[in-house]
């Protein structure tokens, strides 16, 4: 089994719901956005298009972050999920240099959301217990949710149902069908890391 995600750029409206769904699920600190969105313009007025591009860890089949990790903290499960064992991470950040998709975030200091000098809120006290300082963090396809038979938070919440999660190895799965029938593509496939996240074109 190889778990993967399809993001339909036609359905996506660039609302940033995924970014916040991820924050709400994972309780990450300021500046850490396992899920994020880029916006870019193409063309010249009035023939111009704007495109939103949701990003997350690509859970590469050939993951350079794992190769460079000196401690073995960055690992891959048998179902293809790339994750970091925080207890093994020494915060050397080699993986951040290696990752071409900028999907990793170093937890350099214990920052809180309401700013310098502000105590953490009760929410932050509760949620930041799950996060260590001095380590690198990233999307793990919400492993803890998968264990409870739930989809990753960004998939479950997407208002436009632009994200589909499933088994890339199963030709009958929805993700496999969409990739095949709707011209699914990997982002910068030429980088050769074989991402498990596929995109469907915005125009089709």
């Amino acid at each position: 089994m190889r778990l993967g995600m399809v993001i339909d750029l036609k359905r996506c409206i660039g609302c940033y719901g995924c970014q916040i769904a991820c924050k709400a699920e994972n309780g990450t600190r300021p500046g850490t956005t396992y899920a994020r969105v880029l916006k870019r313009e193409f063309g010249t007025y009035p023939n111009v298009k704007k495109q939103s591009l949701p990003l997350l860890c690509m859970h590469c089949g050939d993951a350079p972050c794992i190769e460079v990790c000196p401690t073995g903290a960055s690992q891959k499960r048998s179902d293809g999920i790339v994750f970091i064992d925080a207890d093994m991470c020494v915060g050397c950040r080699a993986c951040m240099m290696a990752c071409p998709y900028a999907a990793r975030y170093f937890q350099d200091e214990e920052r809180n959301y309401f700013g310098v000098g502000m105590a953490p809120t009760a929410y932050e006290v509760s949620r930041y217990q799950d996060h260590q300082s001095g380590v690198v963090e990233k999307c793990d396809f919400c492993r803890h949710r998968l264990d409870q038979d739930k989809e990753p938070a960004c998939v479950a919440n997407c208002m436009c149902k632009a994200r589909i999660f499933g088994n890339l190895d199963d030709p009958e799965s929805e993700v496999s069908r969409l990739i095949k029938e709707e011209s699914g593509f990997q982002l910068n496939a030429e980088w050769g890391t074989d991402p498990s996240v596929y995109y469907l074109p915005a125009e089709r």
């Binding site: 339909d8 036609k10 359905r11 409206i13 660039g14 609302c15 940033y16 719901g17 970014q19 916040i20 769904a21 924050k23 709400a24 699920e25 309780g27 300021p30 500046g31 956005t33 994020r36 969105v37 916006k39 313009e41 063309g43 010249t44 007025y45 009035p46 111009v48 298009k49 704007k50 495109q51 939103s52 959301y113 309401f114 700013g115 502000m118 105590a119 809120t121 009760a122 929410y123 932050e124 006290v125 509760s126 949620r127 739930k150 479950a156 919440n157 997407c158 208002m159 436009c160 149902k161 632009a162």
Partner: protein
């Protein structure tokens, strides 16, 4: 995940509680996860039709409102005697006893003097307590002075037409079936708008199945980003485009739905040269021309064979024309060439849009849904603030609406739907129930639940102009549901010497200084009043104006038995009805108290409980045994329990809702696609506007009110330039605002997760200018610039060069630029657009009391 509230396990508090969001006016269903007394996560509630388990960024981020360290936690009293924008109020913490004594004393004094000297305003984000207080406390107190600061927010003209054409308050397109959706300055399910979270799912499905989306907007908005075609337009000219499209459909392409117009609109009603319907002398009912008998008959005459909708007919030497003929003639001057000059849209594009829309409507086609054969008109328009936020709001909105009416794409599958104007009620109780009927003139009369539904459609249409003694002008122009006219009239004592002035302003969390227009106008209007501010923040309005601040609960700390508006929070189309509960996830922290409970206590101490209970019965349609007794005090829980039991039976009381969160049942085809089964006709020709306009003119002349101009009271579509439209020497651009899907007005700028989005996104905290325009002006990306408004104030901000904006336009997102001491996180983020807008009747459409929400401006560089 459980969809119902679950019990704490063993010794650990770990529950999911169903409740309702409060981060925008849509109030979607949520599940809140509480662990050991702390709210740790908010998700959408899959059992709720308000979102179906999916939330927007704002809804997910609500935790940061609950735990915001900058909230107001205790009653505060102003100790700085000087009020003013930027003044430090020098808040002094006081106890609730002292605060209540002050509030009750002030209210009792004003009630003894003149109850109308109490003004109330509030924020629609805290919708349920606002609605409850507007509908119960204000009538019980005896004041009708309500202002909802609708500058940028509310529908105004759209609400009026939703009433006359759709028997509702708002509209949404039936994207379950629409094949062609034409949006004018709005973003349903694509950025903002009613039922956003559910509409987003529906529109994504529609686009995936091939619905064509065309977005007319000066700015490449979130909606335009997803459009198959973005049509940039000069702000304020949408009406010219719609008039030209009507002209093409009716006079060149010959595309219209004769059957719909004959039976479901006033198209056949004969109109005289005086502008009024030709009426039967005995019954007073409108007449039509019977083509078979070649004579005039009453519109509902049983012998009528076929009414004429085109032509011209002579009766006793006078000429009468059917309303539809009047429309055809009215739009003839709107050639595509003329509209192109005004809108800057190419002629060929205008022609193509009209043809595409007309052909997509498939006039004559039918569809079977759930065994019922219905007209099928899969083309719809929708418009909102971008199109109607101008002082030509009325004729513009009418033109856009009539595109759907003429092709019959109104309240049938695929067309534009009124938001739930027909409700048969819960299967067991047949409640809550409302249904439109026909007026004596045969026109649509909206149905209502209770006799006093705040911000619901008026069932007595139109309210008669009787005077000009209210600051909001509701005695003169009583049909707009919301209005922020008060600052304009209060600041103009020369023209309005006799209006009742505010002695006390009860402000339920509205940041009036930022949401109406220039803050100076709202400040000036209320600076002499005693201002009671009930709020979660010490915001700009509180700091400038408030004498006392009462700490409110946020939506996660309180009970609201009817959290949703009955009609337009429900998504349109088939699916489920859903009635929800908002309940506390955590008990109110510090000394925060629920506004609705505070007002119950205030009412008791004022001795108005009897009228309050009566008003509550009327508002919620409570009948025995659940109606409130006149002489008893009730808690909010008891009132909520009675509402639920009254509507849904004894088994569905407050406890049931606390446990289950939402009660749903399927909508019926005849509720959703009600038009074929209805007797009330939509108004193409707005005789009521002619009649009201003449009456208003008469009152204005009698009272010497030169500021009340009635030129805009036209019965048919038209277009004229809004005040910001034409260049004035030195002022060569128009400034507009737009909305992003992750902020609500100015109220979410304190929420760090949402700020993090704007910080990472390159437009929303900047002033957007077209790249080529910037080049001609020698301006560069990230320049610090000042925008100087010809009629309003100035704002500064950083420039963002983009290809995605009309060359004559500066675009600003929402309303940022907070300056309150009490909002340190939000302070200075984004740009405060409303500073550019003047607040006066000159910049308003008086038919709908809509402000001109764009500004004629120039731009100057301040720094690199």
């Amino acid at each position: 995940m459980p969809s119902t509230a679950s019990k704490p396990t063993a010794n650990k508090d770990d529950v999911w509680i169903p409740s309702v969001c409060g981060m925008c006016y849509n109030q979607c269903g949520i599940l809140a996860h509480r662990v050991d007394g702390t709210l740790v996560k908010i998700e959408g509630n899959p059992a709720s039709p308000y979102g179906n388990g999916r939330l927007c960024a704002r809804g997910l981020a609500g935790i940061q409102v609950l735990y915001d360290p900058h909230r107001v936690n205790y009653p505060l009293k102003r100790t700085n005697p000087n009020k003013g924008i930027g003044e430090d109020p020098r808040w002094q913490r006081i106890g609730w006893d002292e605060a209540m004594d002050i509030v009750v004393e002030k209210l009792a004094a004003v009630r003894d003097d003149d109850p109308d000297k109490l003004f109330m305003t509030g924020t629609v984000l805290s919708l349920a307590p606002l609605n409850h207080t507007l509908g119960t406390f204000m009538p019980a107190f005896g004041s009708s002075n309500i202002l909802i600061s609708d500058g940028h927010q509310c529908g105004n003209a759209e609400h009026i037409l939703a009433r006359t054409l759709h028997a509702s308050v708002t509209t949404n397109p039936d994207v379950d079936y629409t094949n062609y959706l034409l949006l004018f300055g709005c973003q349903p399910g694509l950025g903002t708008y009613y039922a956003m979270t559910t509409m987003a799912q529906k529109i994504a499905d529609a686009r995936a199945r091939g619905m064509k989306l065309v977005v007319v907007d000066p700015y490449l908005s979130t909606a335009a980003e997803k459009a198959d075609e973005w049509v940039p337009i000069k702000p304020g000219s949408d009406g010219a485009l719609a008039c030209a499209m009507l002209n093409l459909l009716l006079n060149e392409y010959d595309i219209y739905d004769r059957g719909y117009l004959e039976h479901h609109t006033d198209a056949p009603y004969l109109v005289g040269t005086d502008g009024y319907y030709h009426r039967d002398t005995d019954t007073g009912k409108p007449m039509v021309w019977d083509l078979a008998a070649e004579t005039a008959r009453i519109f509902d005459d049983e012998d009528l064979v076929r009414p004429a909708i085109v032509g011209s007919f002579k009766l006793e030497a006078e000429t009468f024309k059917p309303a539809f003929q009047m429309l055809k003639e009215r739009v003839t001057k709107w050639t595509p060439e003329l509209a192109s000059e005004i809108t800057t849209i190419p002629i060929d594009t205008i022609r193509r849009l009209a043809r595409e829309f007309g052909e997509a409507a498939q006039v004559g086609s039918t569809i079977m849904i759930d065994g019922v054969e219905l007209p099928f008109r899969p083309a719809a328009t929708l418009y909102f603030k971008g199109a109607h936020g101008h002082d030509n709001a009325w004729p513009t909105s009418l033109a856009i609406e009539l595109l759907c009416e003429v092709v019959g794409a109104s309240n049938v599958p695929g067309g534009l739907l009124g938001t739930n104007p027909v409700a048969f009620g819960h299967p067991d109780t047949k409640l809550p129930r409302w249904q439109p009927k026909a007026s004596k003139d045969g026109l649509i009369e909206a149905g209502t639940l209770g006799k006093n539904e705040p911000m619901g459609p008026s069932s007595n249409w139109p309210p008669e102009p009787t005077g000009a003694d209210t600051a909001s002008l509701i005695d003169l122009i009583g049909w707009p549901i919301t209005t922020c006219t008060a600052p304009a009239t209060l600041n103009d004592p020369e023209n309005f010497p006799s209006i009742t002035r505010p002695a006390v302003l009860l402000n339920y969390g509205s940041n009036l200084l930022m949401s109406a227009a220039q803050p100076e106008a709202s400040f000036e209007a209320f600076k002499d009043a005693f201002v009671i501010n009930v709020n979660i923040y010490s915001d700009e309005t509180a700091e400038a104006l408030a004498d006392i601040v009462l700490p409110d609960t946020c939506y996660l700390e309180r009970l609201d038995p009817v959290p949703n508006w009955l009609r337009h929070h429900h998504p349109v189309g088939l699916g489920d009805w859903g009635y929800q509960i908002r309940q506390p996830i955590v008990e109110p922290m510090y000394e925060r108290r629920h506004f609705s409970e505070v007002m119950l206590e205030v009412s008791r101490r004022l001795g108005i409980t009897e009228t309050l209970n009566l008003a509550t019965n009327l508002m919620y349609g409570l009948t025995a045994p659940q109606s409130l007794a006149a002489d008893e005090d009730y808690t909010l829980e008891e009132i909520g329990d009675r509402i639920y039991q009254n509507w849904f039976g004894p088994e569905h009381g407050l406890d049931w809702f606390r446990k289950h969160g939402v009660l749903t049942w399927p909508k019926q085809v005849e509720e959703v696609y009600w038009k074929p089964f209805s007797v009330g006709r939509a108004q193409i020709y707005n005789e009521w506007v002619v009649r009201s306009g003449e009456k208003i003119k008469q009152i204005a002349e009698e009272r010497s009110l030169p500021g009340i101009k009635t030129d805009g009271f036209v019965p048919l579509p038209d277009w004229w330039p809004c005040r910001a439209f034409d260049q004035r020497p030195g002022y060569d651009m128009q400034a507009i605002y737009y909305r992003v899907p992750w902020h609500s007005f100015s109220q979410t700028y304190s929420t760090p997760w949402l700020d993090e989005i704007s910080q990472g996104e390159q437009y929303s905290y900047f002033i957007c200018i077209n790249t080529q325009t910037a080049a001609t002006k020698g301006l560069n990306d990230n320049d610090l610039v000042r925008i100087v408004s010809a009629d309003g104030g100035n704002v500064e901000g950083r420039l963002r060069l983009t290809q995605g904006v009309h060359p004559g336009v500066l675009a600003i997102a929402n309303n940022g630029g907070h300056w309150a001491h009490g909002l340190p996180f939000a302070k200075g983020k984004g740009v405060f657009f409303n500073q550019l807008l003047p607040m006066d009747l000159e910049h308003m459409d008086l038919v709908s009391l809509t402000m001109d929400c764009d500004a004629r401006v120039r731009i100057e560089k301040v720094g690199g």
